[in-house]
């Protein structure tokens, strides 16, 4: 826009109107340019809307403004007035106004002297205000940009001023880069003062620096590398960019310095890497050339190198692959083994389950907590319980075994087995209470389940319905009773007839007759004794004999036993020695059973001791037991016979010689009875040896030892008492 021209035009056009003030105002208002009329003494008489806006007012204020308030610099106004006085007008006068917001801005105006309502005034028209403003704004923004850049740049930006080319300004980065305290310290230092004495190329810094500066001044700019030195003394690499600003001779230099120490380091690394790589390649190339002989020389050595690297990788991969394959095969075979074992286990589990399911006995598996884990079909059948009633529940809550029919307290043996790990048996007359309440006879055994370390995992109860067995037993004992009745009938009949005969009631009997009758009697009695023995054995074998302990004075009992064999003792002239321990207490024993045992031992001693011999009986005690000893100085028991002494129907050879009547049942029965009361029986033979008249070594004597627990015999229910002789 040709500012001056337009203004001229406006001024010419305006002049004739000005004379009529009101009209003038109307015209002025329509002009886009700020127009103001001020009196000579500085009062703003009139301003159009554009002027008001230019000054920062909305135009509606219509406040009194003194021109001096508008002019930022009074001196400038003075100058304008001077020009106006001299020339009557001012064209493109640059001045500074104060904006309403206080900021100062440059304006370009045209001014004329004029008369307004008869007053001498100055007409001011601001020209190019908008463009100027925009340009100013742009400049302002640019300034701000530059300011920001200057402040925030990581690069050092400084000014060097001629002729000394010392630093006159530096941004914060400069302060940091050169290690100075602040800008002030930085100022008035020359570039070579912030450098080592010599540059890397050997030149003196002061000399080279001036060279660089001159080049920048002459050519407008210069970019070069430089080694600087911090104020602290540390040297660093930098790039320097010098820019000429302004024109000769006033041109100064703008310097932008960048610290490239990091960059230099990276360059070093890269350089080294490149060197190393180059060295490696030159090493490998001969090898590669050897390997790739049959390969057409494709391309460069680098290509062949790459191929060899690939080759190596492929080989490694191949090896790894083989290894993996081996591992995979091993694992596959392991998995196979596992699945085989699993299968075996499953098979044997199935086997066991099949057996358990189909077994003819009831099977209950109980874990260490006493909870039922298995209840097989036979168990269901016998008990009338469904496995769903019992499995998962505590055994003692749902299954009840009793020691015998009369017992109301369920057996605790299952708990015992789990606790102690010892097998238990519930023999007859044990019963199991069925679901319907009926007590069914059972025989059961309880075995602990243990793992390899012996830890108790639970137990297995195997039981069977013993009703049939019991029936058989009952039938057996009935048969025995009947048989014994049948056998005894003729025996008793014969005995009575002989009694009658011997009594003389049915006629006199001569000596010979008497003798014979007595022989018959004896045979008959023996038969009777044997039948009694038979009965007792059967009772022992069935475990049905009773034990009824009573508080007993052992001495009295021994006396009674000895008394019963007195006639025989006297007949054979055998002496008896009796020893009863002083501290022997009264004990709880079944007198009948003890009597049977004593009779047996004494009778044996009697039988196998020759005339004039000696039998001794003693009763003593130790911590646990009462020990009864029956000893003789008779023929003793031969070594070969000793293991068989307690077996049924056995008689040692030497005994057969003496007493052909002994049936050998006695010791078997005696042992059964003793064990029935939880005692023990043993013997020692010979007690001594002697040289006989014939010069042979002879055994002498036998001792039998029978124990009875000091705690006494336990009462035992049974179905029958044993018969005394």
């Amino acid at each position: 826009m040709a500012l001056p021209e337009k203004k001229e035009k406006t001024s010419k056009k305006v002049e004739p109107f000005i004379r009529s003030g009101k009209n003038a105002a109307a015209i002025f208002e329509s002009f886009p340019y700020p127009i103001g009329i001020a009196s000579r003494d500085g009062k703003l008489i009139y301003a159009n809307l554009a002027m008001w806006q230019h000054m920062g007012y909305s135009g509606k204020e219509k406040i009194d403004i003194n021109i001096n308030d508008i002019y930022a610099n009074p001196a400038e106004r003075e100058e304008l007035l001077k020009i106006l006085k001299k020339e009557g007008k001012a064209i493109n006068f640059r001045t500074h106004f104060k904006h309403k917001d206080g900021s100062v801005y440059e304006s370009c105006l045209n001014a004329r002297m004029m008369k307004f309502d008869g007053l001498d005034c100055i007409l001011v028209i601001i020209s190019g205000a908008e463009e100027l403003k925009a340009a100013q704004q742009e400049l302002k923004e640019k300034d701000e940009e530059i300011e920001a850049f200057y402040k925030n740049s990581g690069d050092a930006i400084m000014r060097l001023a001629p002729p000394s080319w010392k630093f006159i300004a530096g941004n914060p980065a400069t302060v940091k880069m050169f290690g100075v305290k602040n800008e002030e310290e930085f100022n008035l230092l020359a570039p070579w003062e912030l450098s080592p004495e010599y540059q890397p190329d050997g030149q003196l810094s002061s000399v080279k620096a001036k060279e660089m500066i001159e080049k920048a001044v002459n050519e407008g700019s210069n970019f070069f590398e430089w080694t600087h030195k911090k104020h602290t003394g540390e040297e660093f690499f930098a790039t320097v960019f010098l820019i000429r600003v302004g024109t000769e001779p006033k041109a100064s230099l703008l310097a932008i310095v960048r610290d490239i120490s990091e960059q230099k380091k990276e360059e070093e690394i890269l350089r080294n890497f490149a060197e190393t790589t180059r060295a490696k390649i030159s090493e490998i190339i001969p090898t590669v050339q050897k390997i790739s002989l049959d390969m057409p020389p494709q391309g460069s050595g680098e290509f062949r190198y790459l191929l060899s690297v690939m080759d190596e990788m492929i080989n490694t991969l191949k090896e790894r692959n083989i290894h993996l394959e081996h591992t995979r095969k091993a694992m596959a075979s392991l998995a196979e083994d596992f699945s085989l074992e699993k299968q075996k286990l499953a098979d044997s589990k199935t086997q066991i389950e099949t057996i358990i399911t189909s077994i003819g006995d009831g099977v209950i598996v109980i874990n260490s907590d006493g909870v039922v884990t298995l209840f097989n079909p036979t168990a269901e059948k016998i008990s009338g319980l469904d496995s769903s009633d019992v499995v998962g529940k505590k055994c003692c809550d749902v299954i009840h075994f009793y020691a015998d029919e009369k017992n109301e307290t369920p057996s605790e043996l299952i708990k015992e087995t789990i606790r102690t790990g010892v097998s238990k048996k519930l023999g007859l007359p044990a019963v199991l209470k069925r679901k319907d309440g009926v007590k069914v006879p059972v025989s059961d055994s309880i075995s602990p389940l243990q793992d390899a370390s012996g830890k108790i995992l639970g137990c297995v109860v195997v039981f069977s319905d013993a009703s049939a067995e019991r029936e058989i037993d009952r039938a057996k004992s009935e048969f025995v009773s009947l048989a014994s009745h049948q056998l005894r009938t003729p025996i008793s009949t014969v005995a009575w007839f002989i009694e009658m005969l011997l009594s003389g009631e049915v006629g006199e009997v001569n000596d010979k007759q008497r003798e014979y009758l007595e022989e018959v009697n004896r045979s008959n009695q023996r038969m009777g004794a044997m039948v009694s023995m038979l009965l007792n054995i059967s009772r022992i074998e069935m475990g049905t004999f009773i034990i009824e302990p009573r508080i007993t004075d052992m001495e009295k009992l021994i006396d009674a036993s000895l008394a019963s064999i007195r006639p025989l003792l006297e007949k054979k002239g055998i002496s008896v020695e009796k020893k009863i321990g002083e501290d022997l207490p009264l004990v709880n024993v079944d007198q009948k059973l003890l009597g049977i045992v004593m009779d047996n031992l004494l009778t044996n001693s009697l039988s196998y001791t020759p005339t004039g011999g000696k039998i001794s009986v003693s009763v003593i005690k130790n911590n646990h037991d009462m020990i009864i000893e029956v000893s003789d100085n008779g023929i003793g028991i031969p070594k070969e016979a000793q293991p068989k002494m307690f077996s049924k129907l056995f008689r040692a050879d030497n005994a057969k010689e003496i007493d052909t009547d002994g049936t050998g049942i006695g010791l078997y029965m005696t042992k059964s009875i003793v064990e029935g009361w939880k005692g023990t029986i043993r013997f020692v033979s010979p007690i001594t040896t002697k040289i006989s008249s014939k010069g042979k070594e002879e055994r002498v004597g036998t001792s039998f030892f029978v124990t009875v627990p000091l705690s006494g015999m336990t009462k035992k229910e049974g179905t029958a008492e044993l018969l005394a002789k």
Partner: protein
């Protein structure tokens, strides 16, 4: 002596030999001896003739001794109190049977094979308050 009249004994026994020897003995001892060969006969006779004492065997055909004793006891007041000696060769293992028998109130249970006839006689005389 309470009574000079002969005491009446009823012997219930199925074995002829035993009957023979018992009859001989008790007659000699001054008893009035009556015989029955089984429980049925024995019961009938006892009810009819009220013996002073009954010697009762157990194992017999038609009716055994236990049954006869039971019926005897149930029969009448007399039946309840008449002294009975079980004289038998059998010994029962069955506790229940023995208990049942014991409840019927025999005076004693004598095993023939273990008792001399003379001792049986003594027992009879004892129970009848004789001698």
């Amino acid at each position: 002596m309470e009574n000079s009249a002969k005491k009446k004994l009823l012997i219930v026994e199925d074995e002829p030999s035993a009957r023979k020897v018992m009859a001989e003995k008790f007659t000699r001892e001054g008893f009035d001896v009556e015989m029955a060969v089984n429980g049925e006969e024995g019961l009938a006779f006892a009810i009819k003739h009220h013996p002073d004492l009954v010697l009762l065997d157990i194992i017999m055909p038609k009716m055994d001794g236990i049954t006869m004793l039971q019926k005897l006891r149930e029969d009448s007041d007399w039946g309840k109190q008449v002294p009975v000696i079980i004289l038998t060769n059998i010994t029962f293992d069955d506790e229940k049977k023995m208990e049942h028998l014991a409840k019927l109130g025999p005076e004693c249970y004598l095993v023939k094979a273990d008792w001399k006839l003379a001792d049986v006689t003594k027992k009879v005389e004892e129970l009848l308050g004789m001698k």
